[in-house]
């Protein structure tokens, strides 16, 4: 029995530790990727340096480049020798050197975040915005189909796709798209609301079941808190809120019940109750 128990413990310990071991191993996939990325970065840096400085590359950048380039060569050798750890070091050294060069090259320009890009990038931005909105609409369409509500919303979906197509054409012709973007966003919000409303009953039944179970549990905890002599004023408040939530649930007023539940959570915290459905 002792040996079996020891064996079981060994297996369990091993089983517990092994996932963390596997995580470390995950980073060791195909090391040749490192060389491909580094070589491409090297080429790109050469292009940028030629474009920016021609034959007059500043000394500090030249040194950095040589450092990066030598690291790429060393990376190649390390991979040939199957020295993965060295290859990783070489990769990081090379990419760090190239990163410093590219940042030095771009230093004279102002750093901007994406929200501030308006003028020169505006067409690209709107085109990308349309891509993202279209992606979002497609997702809503999938949800709509899942709940068999596609027929109800089909007109709106058709209109959205038509508008997106029209706007793509307008980008080419250079027209102002602001109003269309606004219209598109309103349409998407409207589809979202339609989906919410159409599945509201199904969803509210689920929520109601969840809520009722939760409130029963809370009620029980509040009673226990009363027996333990916790703050009576807070317990009375909690009971009132529980009663109110039950009333709202019986009237299918799920949204209002949610709001009251937010108040109840604060009261429960004051009493020192933590509730989970099990």
């Amino acid at each position: 029995m002792k040996k079996v128990a020891l064996f079981a413990i060994t297996i369990l310990l091993f089983g517990t530790i092994s996932p963390s071991l596997a995580n470390h191993a995950y980073g060791q996939n195909d090391p040749s990727i490192l060389l491909r990325i580094a070589v491409q970065a090297d080429q790109q840096i050469v292009n940028q340096l030629n474009f920016k400085y021609g034959n007059q590359i500043p000394n500090n950048i030249e040194i950095l480049y040589q450092k990066g380039h030598l690291s790429v060569q060393s990376l190649n050798e390390s991979l040939s020798n199957d020295d993965i750890e060295k290859a990783k070091q070489d990769f990081l050294l090379a990419m760090n050197s190239f990163m410093q060069i590219s940042r030095t090259i771009s230093q004279s320009s102002e750093k901007i975040t994406m929200t501030a890009i308006e003028s020169d990038e505006s067409d690209k931005k709107i085109s990308n915005e349309l891509d993202r909105l279209e992606k979002s609409v497609k997702m809503l369409e999938i949800i709509s189909k899942k709940h068999n509500e596609i027929i109800q919303n089909q007109d709106k979906f058709d209109k959205v796709y038509s508008l997106i197509k029209e706007m793509r054409n307008q980008i080419v012709t250079g027209e102002n798209l602001i109003n269309n973007i606004i219209e598109l966003r309103v349409l998407i919000d409207s589809i979202k609301n339609d989906i919410r409303e159409s599945v509201a009953e199904k969803q509210s039944n689920n929520l109601k079941r969840f809520f009722e179970k939760l409130i029963d549990k809370i009620d029980q905890k509040v009673m226990e808190a009363k027996v333990l002599g916790r703050d009576e004023i807070e317990i009375t408040k909690a009971n009132d809120l529980i009663f109110e939530i039950r009333e709202l649930l019986s009237q299918n007023e799920i949204t209002k019940a949610k709001t009251v539940y937010s108040e109840l959570k604060i009261v429960l915290q004051n009493i020192g109750i933590s509730v989970k459905i099990t």
Binding site: K2, A5, F7, I9, L21, I37, K88, Q107, K111, K202
Partner: protein, 336 residues
Amino acid sequence: MTSLIEPIQSKNPLGDDGILFVRNGSMFDTMVKTPLLVASMIIVAALLPIQSSFSSPRDLNLIIYPDGTTHVSMEIDIDPSLTDYELNLFGKTIDNFVVIGDEEFLLDVNIIDDSALIQTFGSSVISVEYDIYDLVSKQGKLWTFSLDSPTDFTLLLPINSAIVGMSNLPINMKLVDEQNQISLSSGKTEIDYFFSTSIVNNPVSEIKPEIDYFPYLIIIITILFISFGIIIFVRNKQKNLNPKESIQKSQKILILDIETIFTLKPNLREDDKEFVKFIFNNGGEALESELRKKFLQPRTTMWRAVKRLEREGIIEIEKKDLQNLVKLRKNMEQEQ
């Protein structure tokens, strides 16, 4: 005070002045409730993955658009007993935020700064999709993606982008619609990239992911452990078997069958044949005392019979615990 050293399992009551002696071999069984320990370990082992799986994205995918906006999509395992879940967003400028819960319900969300309070109400898995403007910045022609990710993730770079700097090691890279998709590990990541027309026809070629043998190695080691354990267990069982049974097993292979013995020794007495049959059926051996009990023979008569069979070369006699062990001879046929 007793001078007898006894293992604690003997459960003899100790006097007030009794000294407790514990054999080293019994320490484990005595001091630790083994079944309790094993059960606790099983619970811990079972809970660890559940605990770590809750509230952290199990799948995180990012797409960088050419304008620098990043689309985030993730799936998160949620504790279904909770009413809401607070998700830390990767920034404050968020757009097109959609959360879908179990059964494809759209869930209500309240976004405050870089945090989203999602009303999960019993959902066990949620999928979150949003666009964010905070992850990419631009300086001159250089674009920089920065993220401190809580989990491993994939990043799809814009078409025609060329990486020129990277702060950590990629796990993998592949081509998706002429775009490079990099898999990266959790933690801080910075990637610098340029847009270049020179790489349109030269994207980083797709690399088929090499099989990571480490998890397989772990599985194999585990299997070996289990096999090793089973072997030890079976061996111990075998050791603990009645010695007679194990002897029976081995001798059955070696001794002749009863008819052959009688054929080889046609002149055997009928009562001797009965003894031989009994010994044979007893696995090839029997104590002389067992024979006496079985055939209700006096000690001397049985002794003579045994000696007779020994002379005939059918049996051999061994001493075992001050008794005579009568065994059928193994190589009788060859001797004949």
